[in-house]
Symmetry: C2
Subunit: 150 residues, 2 copies
């Protein structure tokens, strides 16, 4: 929606691009045009939950010429270096979450929509011990939602 090119006001496009370049470089990734452009879409405004397909459409809609393969590769690489996290709520498609802090999710299956829940809004006060030989990597709370009957 908001153009990537119309940043003449406060935050310049150059500033944003520089920040994102640092982000990529800091993660050990080469700063390439497709990565930078996708990073702009992903991290340009607030936290997002994006599927590969959706990001691809968005990129094309914004006039970028990236291939699906690059979108997939980029998302996977961003996840590998910790810039994104994958959320598994739907076997049909993967979601990537730009919020990498500890938090949880609402999921509205009917709308394929994810909503963040702040970590402190959920209190898991009792947890089982993990089986011998295993450590807890992460505790995910997913609250599945249904439209209330009108």
């Amino acid at each position: 929606m908001t153009a990537i090119f119309e940043q003449e006001t406060s935050i310049t496009a150059k500033n944003v691009a520089e920040d994102l370049s640092k982000k990529l470089a800091g993660a050990g990734l080469r700063v390439t045009a497709p990565r930078l452009a996708l990073a702009q879409l992903l991290f340009g405004k607030g936290n997002r939950h994006v599927s590969a397909e959706a990001l691809y459409e968005e990129a094309r809609g914004a006039g970028l010429t990236v291939s699906q393969a690059t979108v997939y590769n980029t998302l996977n690489q961003f996840e590998a270096v910790g810039l994104l996290r994958q959320v598994q709520v739907d076997q049909a498609r993967s979601y990537f979450d730009t919020n990498i802090d500890t938090h949880h999710h609402f999921y509205v299956e009917a709308e394929a929509r994810l909503i963040d829940i702040a970590a402190n809004a959920v209190d898991v006060s009792k947890l089982p011990n993990s089986p011998d030989g295993y450590d807890i990597e992460r505790v995910e709370v997913i609250i599945r939602l249904d439209k209330s009957d009108a």
Copy 2:
């Protein structure tokens, strides 16, 4: 359920089949040979977490001649009528859980293995309000595990 003396010895195959027939019929499903056979594999012994592919292999290994399509259809139907629940922890494949009571899961990604956690072993003492117009359908807690470093 069944008379006491019938259980004293061993549970006969016929008894099991009868129970499962009731289960299917009670759920509004026609009792067909493939369904009964798959139900036996699924519900015959304890709670299980099965992928469609795994169940198909198991069925064939047991000498059954069912098609993959039937395995998929059957699993989906069983889920639709509430005999099974799907667990989404891996985007690669779906798991079906024969335990339909409220409970949670450990997931060992490296081994593609699910482990049940009794509902009372987890205490979610604080939950956020669901967004307007939506009701909570289910709260899922998934604890992802890693092998501890030796």
